[in-house]
């Protein structure tokens, strides 16, 4: 790279791209050229920086100035002030919710400085499409070490000692998995990178591949060598075009450098990696379904044993790990199992990447040490709940996970602790809910997703989820009856017990955990026919408070049903038989006169 004095690290993750970061790049380059700065200031497109809520974002190096919520119009001023005259532009900096003054430096922003990056170690620091930049940050040295200085057994031992566990959901010890795959009998062996990230609201794997595809590839090559596999596969969702494109480029570059293909580093070790586009079903993330889909069959899970490690792709021993797991491997080999196992809790080592979404100020992608509390994630990193609403629950683990209530906010997060409270780590989706969220409605939403995504092979999953969903719909519509909760509990057990794969076995979790912590909300729906959060339309009524109403007619003008009547400057009323409960009147009223009951 040419000697520039400043590097502008502009985020080109999917979030920022959809907010226009490529357009900003063009404007930046045009403005830089106008001031003849194109040879002094380089624009580098990086992967996801994590702070998606503030996108498009960029970081100016070496000053470490963080700019956010950029628009095309800001760029002219920014280039002239910061890059020409050296004056950082305050109004484009981030101001934390609790403070008045903007914070210029990225390293001083709470969202970033509470994080610890291992899987995302290169995010925002490199151009993911340049292999040399990855190598510059110690990329592929772990591969050189694993190939030249370590035996496959030593590599497996190192991973075992590190305590690394599967980041895809179940948390199976990675070293143990590799050991079984190495011991399995078979002439050809396969490794798979599972990038079929299907949880609603989760984007950890996409972001890792987008910001640092070589870290995943390097992990895979090391793993393949340790196991003795000569074929690698990346099974990636079709909905991730940018990640796939970067991965294709990375594979090409690594192959050109001789880091993939025949005789890697002159050691006689061969590995080919191919990319398979996902078939767009949630169940494809399950190992045996994934294998079926990869072979070209319908993605249905099958009975285990035999486990994929003995009989996987085309009946050959197959080791499947998640994107984040693979991305952790190079750093463990480079820095040692001891270093890695010093981070985290007794049973869960290292860090975990979470996508923090929902009713939280700083939505985005964070990597934190295991053992961090939910409170730290929601309040210190997430910045708390927008609009000063009350926190209600956090949903972890996607549709298969559970809701964790406020009383457990100080729970340290690891695989076991989450299971104890009725949720799971899952792949790392974390949805924050506030007082305006109805927990019965949440359970209904997740079951609707799972009902659609059940492959239909096991009766209990196919029919059971459908019936449970039907009951939840009924409750939300105000037709719940005595015994519904007990029926849901009983069905949950049945579905759990008689489903082949994890989809069915975990599907009742959203119902079980919401009944466990928010039974009162279910009871209010069933017995009192009311929705405490004011969400379920059949159970709420909008009324106008006569004392507060000024008769401004704003609500009447906006009501799509013309259901609001009243004279100017006189209190208005809503005709309930016309009202469709769209909530427009509530939203537009300036005097807080409309209430939901």
């Amino acid at each position: 790279m040419e000697p520039y004095r400043t590097h502008v690290m502009l985020c080109a993750g999917t979030g920022c791209v959809s907010n226009g970061s490529f357009r900003i790049k063009e404007t930046l380059e045009r403005e830089l050229k106008k001031h003849n700065l194109q040879n002094e200031v380089a624009v580098v497109m990086t992967g996801c920086n994590g702070f998606c809520a503030q996108g498009p974002v960029m970081v100016v190096k070496p000053d470490d100035i963080f700019y956010q919520l950029l628009t095309d119009d800001d760029i002219t001023h920014l280039v002239e002030e910061h890059f020409l005259k050296g004056r950082p532009v305050q109004k484009l900096m981030y101001t934390p919710p609790a403070e008045e003054l903007p914070v210029p430096k990225m390293s001083d922003i709470g969202f970033f400085n509470k994080q610890r990056l291992i899987a995302l170690r290169n995010r925002g620091m490199i151009d993911p499409e340049q292999i040399d930049e990855y190598i510059a940050r110690d990329g592929y040295t772990a591969l050189a070490k694993a190939l030249n200085e370590m035996t496959p057994e030593q590599v497996i031992e190192e991973i075992k000692l590190s305590g690394l566990r599967g980041r895809g959901g179940a948390g199976f010890p990675t070293g143990r998995k590799w050991e079984l795959a190495r011991a399995a009998k078979g002439e050809t062996k396969h490794i798979v990178c599972n990038a079929d990230e299907g949880d609603p609201g989760a984007f950890m794997d996409r972001s890792i591949i987008e910001s640092d595809p070589h870290s995943v590839l390097e992990g895979m090559i090391i793993g393949a060598r340790a196991i003795g596999a000569s074929y690698g596969h990346v099974y990636i969702r079709n909905e991730y075009p940018l990640a796939r494109e970067r991965l294709i480029k990375a594979i090409k570059q690594a192959t050109d450098y001789g880091l993939l293909g025949k005789d890697i580093f002159g050691t006689g070790f061969d590995l080919d990696v191919s990319i398979h586009r996902g078939a767009g079903a949630f169940v494809c993330g399950e190992e045996t379904s994934l294998i079926a889909s990869l072979e070209g069959r319908a993605p249905e899970p099958r009975i285990r044993p035999p486990f994929p490690v003995e009989s996987g792709i085309w009946d050959a021993p197959t080791n499947i790990n998640n994107v984040e797991t693979w991305a952790n491997v190079p750093d463990i080999i480079n820095r040692g199992a001891k270093w890695f196992s010093a981070i985290g809790t007794e049973t869960s080592k290292g860090t975990k990447v979470f996508s923090v979404v929902g009713k939280v100020k700083n939505t985005g992608l964070v990597e934190v040490p295991m053992g961090i509390t939910l409170r730290e994630i929601v309040y210190d990193i997430g910045g708390g709940i927008p609009g000063d609403k009350e926190f209600k629950a956090v949903q972890t683990g996607g549709p298969s996970g559970g809701c964790i209530p406020q009383s457990l906010l100080d729970l340290p997060i690891d695989y076991e602790k989450l299971a104890e409270v009725g949720s799971i780590m899952g792949s790392g989706g974390l949805i924050v809910m506030d007082e305006d969220t109805c927990m019965v409605d949440v359970a209904r939403y997740f079951l609707e997703f799972l009902k659609d995504e059940s492959c239909g092979k096991c009766t209990a999953c196919r029919e059971g989820i459908d019936v449970m969903h039907g009951i939840l719909v009924r409750i939300c519509e105000g037709n719940g009856k005595e015994g519904d909760i007990e029926m849901l509990e009983e069905l949950s057990e049945a579905v759990k017990d008689s489903s082949l794969c994890a989809l069915g076995r975990t599907a009742p979790n959203p119902v079980i955990s919401t009944i466990r912590y928010f039974r009162d909300e279910y009871e209010a729906h069933i017995n009192d026919k009311s929705c405490p959060a004011g969400v379920c339309k059949a159970l709420i009524t909008y009324v106008i408070n006569e004392e507060k109403c000024k008769g401004c007619r704003l609500c009447a003008k906006n009501c799509p049903q013309e259901a609001i009547t009243g004279e100017v400057k006189m209190p208005h009323t809503i005709e309930q038989d016309k009202c469709i409960k769209c909530g427009v009147c509530f939203d537009v009223c300036k005097f807080d006169a409309v209430s939901v009951t």
Binding site: M1, P3, Y4, R5, T6, H7, M9, N39, E40, K61, P62, D63, D64, F83, L84, K85, G86, R87, M125, D132, E133, I135, A136, R137, D138, G139, Y140, T141, A144, L147, N148, Q253, D256, Y257, G258, L259, F265, G266
Partner: protein, 127 residues
């Protein structure tokens, strides 16, 4: 692109180290060119290009070159501030290409302050 050997990784790292140290913000020396309107009018651009060329010429990997606003002494521009790691920053005034070259070789590369061009040691107190 030729196939690489393990020892080539180190070569690539060295080639890239200047780019990377700039991103890490970690360097032995930091040169700030004051580029307010006054600085630019007095010729700060030439100073900046000279410094860029010098760092390139010397293959200097541990030097950060950056711009900042007016230093408040508009009558004596162009100005630069040189800050070696662990030492107080030094401000130089009324620069031209020749003076800049001397500061670069004596101070930035060898660590000897060029007193004849220096205005003062240290910066204003903040806050």
């Amino acid at each position: 692109m030729p196939k690489i050997k393990p020892e080539d990784l180190k070569k690539i790292r060295e080639q890239m180290s200047r780019t990377m140290s700039l991103r890490d913000g970690d360097a032995r020396a930091k040169i700030t060119v004051h580029m307010g309107t006054c600085g630019i009018a007095a010729g700060a651009r030439t100073i900046m290009s000279t410094l860029l060329a010098l760092t390139e010429e010397e293959q200097a990997k541990d030097i950060i070159l950056t711009a900042s606003g007016c230093a408040g002494l508009c009558s004596r521009e162009p100005m630069i501030t040189v800050e070696l790691k662990g030492q107080a920053p030094v401000k130089y005034v009324e620069l031209d290409e020749e003076k800049t070259k001397k500061i670069f070789s004596d101070h930035v590369l060898s660590g000897t302050v060029v007193e004849e061009y220096a205005l003062a040691m240290g910066s204003e107190r903040l806050g």
